[in-house]
Symmetry: C3
Subunit: 431 residues, 3 copies
């Protein structure tokens, strides 16, 4: 009974057209050109490397895409158990009519060629979106992105701010900020400079500000004009050509810029997506984008002052570790401005999704849960990633609501709809 029920709920959910609230899509090249753009995704390259292929062979800088694909396929065997591999197969089957359930040195080439043929069609991105039932998606834009040359109704700008908060000590970042804001950067002008970015983004369809944060980060309120030491830190950092300034100065500037971003989110009435818990560059010898890990000893109590200070800013929050999910659930249960957001990265696998999702669905108001985002770099991934999530959502709704709590199937589907689609509109399209 449970299996059939799950299938029926899945089918109902799978009929929805969705908005994907967080991706890394390049709107100028949204889809892959070949399957190498797919298999080159760090979720594969890092696993292939982890399973024993050298970084040099994984990244194969001198090879053409087809040769590189063949090389990568040789390293795929040990990944066949992973959920990431299942995305690849579902993608190949759904978008390119692949008939097998494994990609091997013996069968990859026809798949590769067929995919290249379809991907070359001028309307391929639209075709992928249509088949994936995605009508719009959020980008991850550099703060100095001109936001021109694409349809911002479909590809929705999102101001990504990691560089502003953590990298202003780098001259090239400051130079980019000066060019983007058209204001010389000083400790007096920096607030205005950042304000110009918010103007630019919101005038061009931007609907969110976003940042990823390390586990130790604890936002605190600082007052630029009242605290001479902040001004001093700002001058140190903004005037520097070196990376070797005092850690305290860098931290003061990070804190000040972060708080300023929250103030602008309030002023411009856009949500501030916080992605909490990543340590960058932990594995120094890793492949591109395959070096980041985390310390799961993080608590949302670190955000107490922030949540209290900005009651009118909505904070859609992603946590990297499932161990933090109960806190997220509880904070969203209590704080009106805290919203649960998707299943991020190392928690984006079925066991953690199922556990974390179950906890949220039974204790957070239904209007405050953004079910899922794909985090994808290429459009082709929306279909298998959302399919995984929808299967898990159907499983939880079937087992924990229909069977355990006696809900009707219709009511369960209704909750699924709200989490999948309704809340994305509610949170990001309310302003």
């Amino acid at each position: 009974m449970s299996t059939l029920l799950r299938q029926q709920i899945f089918d109902a959910l799978d009929a929805l057209v969705l908005i994907d609230p967080h991706t890394h899509i390049d709107p100028h090249h949204p889809a892959g050109q070949t399957l190498t753009d797919i298999l080159g995704y760090h979720y594969y390259t890092e696993l292939i490397h982890s399973a024993g292929v050298s970084r040099k062979d994984v990244e194969a800088p001198g090879l053409g895409p087809k040769e590189r694909f063949g090389r990568l396929v040789e390293g795929l065997g040990p990944l066949e158990n992973t959920i990431q591999y299942s995305w690849l197969i579902e993608l190949a089957q759904s978008l390119f009519d692949f008939k097998d359930d494994r990609i091997t040195p013996a069968n990859w080439e026809p798949l590769y060629d067929e995919a290249a043929r379809r991907m070359a069609a001028p309307d391929w991105p639209q075709e992928v979106l249509r088949r994936s039932k995605i009508e719009a998606l959020f980008l991850t834009n550099d703060f100095d992105d001109p936001l021109t040359g694409f349809d911002t109704k479909t590809y929705i700008p999102c101001l990504r701010t990691d560089d502003l908060v953590f990298n202003l000590h780098k001259p090239e970042v400051r130079a980019r900020l000066e060019r983007a804001s058209k204001v010389p950067l000083t400790d007096s002008s920096i607030v205005d400079s950042i304000g110009r970015l918010f103007e630019h983004f919101t005038q061009n369809g931007g609907r969110a500000c976003a940042i990823s944060l390390p586990p130790h980060f604890t936002p605190r309120r600082l007052f630029l004009d009242n605290i001479p030491s902040i001004r001093k830190s700002m001058r140190e950092v903004l005037g520097s050509n070196l990376n070797e300034m005092a850690a305290e100065d860098r931290d003061n500037v990070s804190q000040f810029v972060f708080w300023t971003l929250a103030e602008y989110c309030q002023e411009f009435r856009i949500p501030f997506d916080l992605m909490i818990g990543v340590n960058r560059g932990v594995y120094e010898g890793g492949v591109h984008q395959g070096r980041d890990l985390y310390d799961s000893r993080v608590s949302l109590i670190q955000y107490k002052e922030l949540f209290n200070s900005f009651p009118r800013v909505t904070f859609p929050i992603s946590v990297l570790a499932s161990a933090t999910n109960q806190e997220l659930t509880s904070y969203a249960w209590i704080f009106p401005n805290v919203v649960t957001n998707g299943h991020w990265w190392y928690s984006n696998t079925p066991t953690f999704i199922e556990h974390d999702l179950s906890a949220r669905l039974e204790a957070v108001p239904s209007t405050k849960q953004i079910g899922y985002y794909s985090d994808m770099y290429k459009l082709e991934f929306a279909l298998p990633k959302f399919a995984m999530y929808k299967r898990l959502l159907a499983k939880v709704l079937a087992e924990r609501f229909v069977i355990d709590r006696g809900w009707s199937e219709e009511r369960a589907v209704e909750l699924g709809r709200q989490v999948l689609r309704g809340n994305v509109e509610r949170v990001f399209y309310a302003g």
Copy 2:
């Protein structure tokens, strides 16, 4: 098969008459007078507020109970998915013959009126207890509660000590202690003063001492007479009319009083309930009782010295975060004086109960697990809260014992009985 099996085990467990080992019942007004006493429970008001209703509208100080109920119902929609909402519906259906599965602006009024009618019956509290199959329950008494005017066999006193440990710097708390102990409070008399409270409670049927503790609290042994700094702290704190004494002095006094409580629990042979992990007042703008959250980075290693120092005191322990449940399970597996106690607050939802309960049932001696307490403020909540727990207990027994381990249904039910009822007697009625 599993569904039927679960039902049968549930039915057997549901036939038991229970003792509820932790509540916040006021024995002079144990049941609600109207449904507003039910919907005014912080589990609802905080969720309604979190879902977007302003605190002013939630608390509606000027309104009569019926008008306030109607107002609150308007905010219930986003809560329909929550387990807390399911308690409300089950309560309404079981106690007031409510026929729908949602309470809405369209149907609340007849329910409200019918409930008010029944609740007005003079024997309503006894009726609720009878229908809920609860024969006795533990209270949460202020240390200066006179403990008069109620049947202490049914409403069992429990000495709650948060104020003694954390608030002796407040003149009003010291004044209450002087009145209750009938001893002027000094650094020399404080141990005796506290002893008087234990005498008073145990002479009036008290069966436990209890406290809730913040995550950072780490009990340590202090010797009043040998450590002049403790005496000095005591004088500072006991002589103060201000809240601004040194943190170190306050901490010394908290430590000393806490250790003294444990010594009295040993002397008077009563268990010391520890509820570990809450941060008070995290959300400053929250509704009444809806401001507390936590930092899940807590460890029972902080209690090493306490557990070792009091081998004859039983410590029934509740942890706020499911992340701490494995430690609780392991510490109860090793320490004879550590007992697992219920599923507290933010862990009192099905996903966490199921996971935490499963872990305990398979690794902690069956005699050392107190299954559940309601934590209720009004008697009406015992029925749906215990029903939730019994369903989960039946599920775990069916799936993990009968199916996975080949147990007979009878043996599974027997384990459920011990956890639900037997151990409450064993732990609290042994003295």
Copy 3:
């Protein structure tokens, strides 16, 4: 369907002959002589003590084995729910044809006698291995074990190094090291002394180095010759007859020795098993081996420098707390030299195994997961412990791979085989 499927997968997995990659077997007395050797296992004595039997009665120093067994049986009642008890019953049923499902004061004696009779057979150890389908197993050898008098193909030496890293301040440990290495121990010779141990072990069939580590331990690179303070610490510690040296000196020596071990693992091409997270001696009044617990606030980020510094050393890692399992999963997903290893101690119970195993199977390359080790002290435990694991592995494969992901049963079994047997060969027999 699920129940039958689980059984079929279990049957296929149960047909395999295995190598147990971590035990505490004494190769000179690998099996029990009586059931008291079984019930004297700390997993039982500590639970019996925790359930209320005094340590004196549990350890009963003056009693003969049969009388002691009878005494212990009297304390078994409260343990009947535990998974540890189920190992005991399955062991008794499988190896000694016990017919009941409980061992009680009324039925233990014939079981005890029958077991003693069988255990007295000269080929009992071989018989147990045969029935348990174990062809070889790894030992936990003191660093000064002569490794003689047993078949090192069946009983594979493993250099256990806790004493070297944490106890060199004890004169008896230093004396043992001098005898074993045949080199006088100084700050100049210590590196060579340790090298001699690796030579001795690898020349005698040793296939791994292993250590258990407390939660706070954070390996860091130290340079003996360049850092005078390390030399000074070394001299302090190596010259000491007292335990009261400076904590910093002891810590420096621990760090230096630990790093030296990793260097030798690289040179001798053997894996370095890390068992992370135990606090020793937490419960001072506990029974033998029943005093250790933990602080789950540990992170693999503490091992960042180690993992980066030794890319050619394989680190099979066990974590004590399930809360750390997601980090282990993620670190094994990213670092080529990190391998997941079994389910250790307080995480070796079904609920945690099921959750942790599910997470690993879907995100770590299949070649990098060592499914299980028994950690046993007597051969008789391999059968029930591995049976528990195989049932859980079958459950996860049935539910999460065959049902949830549409895998064939054969493919699921193949993954199970790799995790159970293939990877033990791959990791420990590659050199």
